[in-house]
Subunit: 199 residues, 2 copies
């Protein structure tokens, strides 16, 4: 299930009463656009949906000049309960994130050996660059300094992941360079019958 519900519910709870734009501002300041669905539409949709379900309450709608009116929300009793439930679900259940690179890698054989090696090395560079960027940002006390300390741990996790993955990329690049993995497939091979779907 979607992460957006938890994010919006939790954020409203945290900074209430808030309106959509502020929610988005806050989420972007968390760099949440890199790891969650925070397109404007998603936020406004979630806000309305949650209100409609009685988990949020419209508190006020202000208007400045002729700009679109802002609707501020706050969390309700029911919302608080739902938040606790969702929070626990995501803390206790493990689900692998959806990673677009997996899909790409599955089609390694469709790529040329040269390009595969180059792309993997490039990816390793990107990943290390990303890690380095996060590291220096942390070290130099970037991030305006208002962030609660657990935010840094989140960044540390990103760094650790990036480094692990970078190393994997280099190892696989070596394998591909050595010709140990299939590349340059021209035509499709006949595939064996795959196994069944279990309900």
């Amino acid at each position: 299930m979607s992460t957006t519900r938890l994010l919006i519910l939790g954020l409203v709870r945290w900074v209430q009463p808030v309106h959509g734009y502020d929610v988005r501002r806050e989420l972007l300041s968390w760099h949440a656009d890199e790891w969650a669905n925070v397109a404007p539409g998603s936020i406004y949709h979630a806000l309305k949906k949650l209100a409609q379900e009685g988990l949020l309450r419209e508190v006020a709608t202000e208007q400045v000049g002729a700009r679109p009116a802002r609707t501020r929300y706050e969390i309700t009793e029911a919302g608080e309960r739902e938040f606790q439930t969702l929070l626990r679900r995501y803390w206790w259940e493990y689900r692998q994130p959806i990673d677009p690179f997996f899909a790409a890698f599955a089609f390694l054989p469709a790529l040329g050996q040269r390009e595969a090696v180059a792309a993997l090395r490039n990816r390793a560079r990107n990943l290390r660059g990303h890690a380095e960027f996060v590291r220096t940002a942390i070290d130099r006390g970037g991030f305006d300094g208002n962030e609660p300390p657990h935010t840094f741990e989140l960044f540390r996790l990103m760094m650790a992941r990036s480094e692990t993955e970078a190393q994997w990329c280099d190892e696989v690049a070596d394998l591909v360079a050595a010709g140990d993995l299939p590349t340059d497939a021209v035509a499709a091979a006949p595939r064996p019958q795959s196994s069944n779907i279990q309900t």
Copy 2:
């Protein structure tokens, strides 16, 4: 953008002519349900959409008894070009995957210290368990043996990630246990003004 397009296009290209159910079968055999959107509806939708865009072509519709007719698809010239484009995009562009746990962790302060530590340790266990499961499955030559070798590298990546993340969980659990990270927040603190949104 969605990974499903690439996955379906590539799979049809690989095993054509195929029908939806087979595509799903194959994807599940790759355990793709763990890292991509492969609900039945997604697959049939993508198939129809791609056909409508002229990237796939309906090749035949067979019928066995009174069961729903199967429509087999194959890739077109245009589809092949699109596949190459998408493949390259995903190989060369780095995008962080969307991870539901990040959202959960962002609300660490809303959790009790006790529970946070327990959940983190539990997550570490889960992650190590997952890694171990994959490892033994590989070692014992699980996975029916028809998988191309690069599939194993994908599993190795999953393992490496799981281990990295498990270690992080333990470290953070220690920090939380030591009281170095905020937990048990009761009320919301007033937040400072966050920065602006750049277009």
